[in-house]
């Protein structure tokens, strides 16, 4: 599980919200041989709310693909509820509410993202 997802799971636990991690993959596109070429696996499923949750990153390049998947989801599975959440400002809020350990993990995630971006630039 990604560190941001770990944090999110801890918040769900804090509120006593039941959750499942990536329980289902939705096929979105197929090739001529009917093999799945694009699929979407939401990060969390909340059974009591019957709601899928997808945590988003802030990087536009990844957001474009995610937005495409969300559009296909809406077309192919209109009865499935999915909520996209941004983790921006989560860390400050968590510190304010005493969830220091969780905030630390998110800080680690941000550091990891910066490293990834440096690698992306190096790869060209």
């Amino acid at each position: 599980m990604h560190p941001a997802e770990v944090v999110f799971a801890r918040i769900l636990d804090f509120y006593g919200i039941a959750w499942q991690y990536e329980p289902r993959t939705f096929p979105l596109e197929w090739d001529e041989q009917k093999r799945v070429t694009l699929a979407f696996t939401p990060d969390f499923y909340l059974p009591d709310q019957d709601l899928y949750i997808e945590l988003t990153t802030l990087r536009p390049r990844l957001s474009t693909l995610k937005n495409r998947k969300m559009r296909r989801m809406a077309e192919l599975y209109p009865d499935v509820h999915i909520k996209l959440l941004k983790r921006r400002e989560m860390r400050d809020l968590m510190i304010k509410f005493g969830l220091y350990d969780e905030a630390e993990k998110l800080l680690g995630t941000e550091a990891q993202m910066m490293e990834e971006e440096v690698e992306d630039v190096a790869r060209g």
Partner: protein, 188 residues
Amino acid sequence: MSVITLSRQLGSLGFEIGEEVGRRLGYAVIGRDLINQAARRAGAPEVALDMIDELGLLGVKPSAAARRAYVAAVRQVMEELAGGEHVVIIGRGGQVILHDWPGALHVRVIAPAALRAERVAQRHGIGLLAAQAQVEASDRHRQNFLRLYLQAAIEDSNFYHLILNTAYFSVEQAASLIVCAVKGCIPS
């Protein structure tokens, strides 16, 4: 009497009191189920998360239309519950929605903010300052819900038959007072 609504502050022990009353009277205790059911009925399950997330940690931002549909569904679900089995309904503005419901008893559970923060700090193992922030955020969230969607003030004592301050009563004592009010054993 078949319905008790219980409005409470974070750290007031209101939920525990509601559960104790339900246990003693054999009433079903309806808390978060009401939120989830109403949100599903409104076709906007993300509103349930927004309502549960009273500390604003998740950042769920439902549309105004989704929130309005949710509140309409809350009213509908609550009236169905009150018209059916014996229930203790915790939160969600039951004291306003069912204000004129025949035989309903409306209870508010409060405690001083400092005491509530101490309880929250102890329960979650966090510092007192963080607990105070949680108490303040929760108070704001609950006040705003009533003000925005039911056009009522949560502190308006006209909505309640009983207001209990748990700085002076334990969970058991408060539950006894409510049970007594339901059974009509308070002397006139």
